[in-house]
Symmetry: C2
Subunit: 456 residues, 2 copies
């Protein structure tokens, strides 16, 4: 048996989140009010978020305490394990060491509870009784239902109708934790009724579900809104992943040469990368790689520009890498990576050259996921398979170069609720998408008149 | 935050299994050959199992080494965590401490890989190229597919047809690990063809699937058979659970007053209980409780008698608590607990008064599972919910009596592939089964002429 015991769990859980804001070489551009085009302040966000989260959104403090009540819940499954993928290394014949940090051990099966728990907590502290949110594939809706349940808050989840129908298990999971799930578009909001009037058979979209959740929250005194990625405070909460990983690498007496994560809205990637980005800012040599789907290539084919966070154009304008908020990605199985933009914090470190990005086709990703599942046992979420693809590519490069490097990737979740995607892959029914330049051009042209991010 | 960090993982993995055979006060009655009625020897089992496993089946050595190659795989997820259910304690208002050992962290989501990995290993060592087995709900077929994949063995799984059709995700999981899944009854065996000739629309049963797998293995030189519970060597492999738990309790500076597990064939229960049964044999005061479904009350309403291991009557006769091999339990959601008998080792400790048994209705179990899921986050497998019901009952008893006892239960797996059962519970569509005495009598009468277990 290997001398070093894996999984490595024997560390203390971090008691503070790492806020990268004060360490960013050029700081972060502000969000803009959609109506005035002027920087949006805390007051603009107050109808939707509790003040504690708004303060985190703009804080310049490097370290922010994790409340004891939040830690009491996170310790039920954290620290999450750091595992050496010895069987995968052997299968690849690589001299590289491959490590993965595994977030699938959370009850919701992904990294999402790292932020849903504190979000529900801070809402509870400010007397919020009800939280409205949207969910596509269901990962975020599950995590928020779990979290609201802990703090006695009602969770109202608008779930994209096509997912609601195709993924009944995700819906039951939310209900098991007490969440209330409504297929979107619904008759419960103006936005939903408007869509249904135009098209009673609408399958819904994440954009529509966001509109419904925001309208719901804005219209009720007892209700706030919650988001599972993109915003600064969400990414802040995910830094617990990277902080744990650094401690675990110290136990293993090693450190990663490459740090890899998959990128949808950007929160799981940022969670593992943030502490290593700081090392890089401080002059250390570490390669940080974000992996996105070729079907939604925000970082590799998008522009850094102000754009709306939602598809309809209701939210503040955010400075980010974006394909344009009207871009509709093909229906790849990695539902969590189908977002037109990228978190402003991730966009900023990309712009600064502190990370790099690659795009992979889903067939290549499932091929990597299957090899991983057969080597390490764990069946990965389709989203996480993009990080595996990236890690395998790096390991094969190390083999070619004869280099003994250490590769770290984040396995953000398991695929227990995505087995139909594996079925499609195993039966050769998975589609490779060729994204036409014309569609990229169309979506980009539609936002060219919004403010340039360079103006500020 | 609590002073003691949970989950408790920081222990070395055990390097030996605990074999209770030499410590049993009266030893174990032998299996009998079905044709002669005489004790069955190793040679009778040789067509079906590799010699190393047959030796474990009859070994009188207290400690048996776990091979390094097996440990190399088990450490990918072991030691499994021991977690204090602090939120459940709070919800119950009990002075008791509730701990659970969680086996859902394995890639297959249950305790089954603890034995499928060594079984595949010992088969590989003796040159076996292919293993045939049966699976009902799919837990065991998944675990064996995972294990065979590690050691380059072909896994052939006969899956009860009704489950094959109702649980497509389990089938895909097996295929993801390279297993080959055939709905049973099939045209590939005599047994299957015979059933299909009589009834082309047969839904199949575990009994039929066992017959197909045994016939397949017996008829091919390169193929052996594997079983996921009941037999001594299977229970031996599961003792790693209890051995880890004892070390983890030492870390917590505590020890359990009650040890609880759910009972189907008996392997997960025995896995956590065995080291505590030894304590009890040595005079320590520990209450050991097996929880079974009221719909299949092997220990609470069955007889200790020789009976066939399968439903058709092909296997050796085993000395065990049994309802009779023709007993057909109602279709409860805990598919893994629908077995007419109980492992001989568990039956023996029950007969010796070293443990006690209780039976619970599935509606009461799902009620307990839902409370657990809302408190601790993890969604339990329907099988494991029986242990939760037992633990909650003990915690409420401790509350009435004002006792600060420590309660330990085994959470043998997660319910990610059983969400439809939660849907049934949440929509009040779950059935309470009233098992008529006449059916118990009928099945018992059908085996009365088999040898009495007291004869030896």
């Amino acid at each position: 048996m290997k001398q070093i015991k894996y999984p490595l769990n024997d560390i203390e859980i971090p008691r503070q989140w790492y806020n990268i804001m004060p360490d960013l070489p050029k700081g972060l551009l502000p969000p803009l009010h959609p109506a005035t085009g002027q920087p949006a302040g805390p007051d603009d966000l107050a109808p939707l978020f509790p003040m504690a989260l708004i303060e985190q959104e703009v804080s310049q403090d490097r370290w922010i305490d994790i409340p004891e009540e939040v830690l009491d819940i996170l310790v039920k499954w954290r620290p999450s394990p750091l595992i050496r993928a010895t069987s995968l290394e052997k299968a690849l014949g690589t001299p590289a060491k491959i490590y993965f940090k595994y977030e699938g051990v959370s009850p919701a099966g992904s990294h999402k509870p790292n932020t849903s728990i504190p979000q529900a907590y801070f809402n509870m502290k400010e007397g919020v009784k009800r939280i409205a949110t949207e969910t596509g594939a269901g990962q975020w809706g599950s995590a928020l239902s779990l979290a609201c349940n802990y703090f006695g808050i009602e969770a109202k989840v608008y779930m994209v109708k096509i997912s609601y129908e195709q993924k009944p298990y995700r819906k039951i999971l939310m209900e098991t934790w007490g969440g209330s799930v409504t297929p979107s578009p619904s008759n419960e909001t103006e936005a939903g009724r408007k869509i249904l009037a135009e098209n009673p058979d609408s399958n819904g979209s994440l954009g529509i579900a966001i509109s419904e959740a925001v309208e719901d929250a804005a219209g009720r005194e007892d209700t706030k809104y919650a988001l599972g990625s993109v915003l600064n405070h969400v990414l802040l909460h995910q830094t617990i992943i990277g902080l744990e990983t650094k401690k675990q690498f110290a136990l293993a007496n090693d450190k990663p040469d490459v740090v890899i994560g998959c990128c949808g809205g950007g929160s799981n990637f940022f969670g593992i990368a943030a502490p290593y980005v700081l090392d890089k800012i401080n002059g250390e040599n570490v390669d940080i790689l974000g992996c996105e789907p070729a079907a939604c290539p925000t970082m590799t084919r998008g522009h850094f520009h102000y754009d709306f966070g939602d598809s309809i154009g209701m939210t503040p304008l955010l400075p980010m890498h974006t394909l344009g908020h009207t871009f509709m990605p093909p229906s790849i199985h990695a539902g969590g990576l189908r977002y037109h933009g990228m978190a402003p914090l991730v966009s900023e470190i990309l712009r600064e050259g502190l990370m790099r990005a690659e795009a992979f086709d889903q067939v290549d990703c499932f091929k990597a996921a299957l090899l991983f599942a057969r080597c390490e046992g764990i069946v990965p979420a389709p989203e996480s398979s993009h990080a595996i693809r990236g890690a395998i590519n790096e390991a094969l490069k190390a083999k070619e170069e004869g280099k003994e490097k250490s590769i770290l990737f984040l396995l953000s979740g398991h695929g227990h609720f995505d087995m139909s995607a594996y079925d499609a892959y195993l039966s050769n029914n998975l589609v490779e998408y060729d994204l036409p330049e014309a569609e990229i051009e169309r979506a980009w042209n539609a936002i060219k008149d919004l403010p340039e991010a360079a103006e500020f």
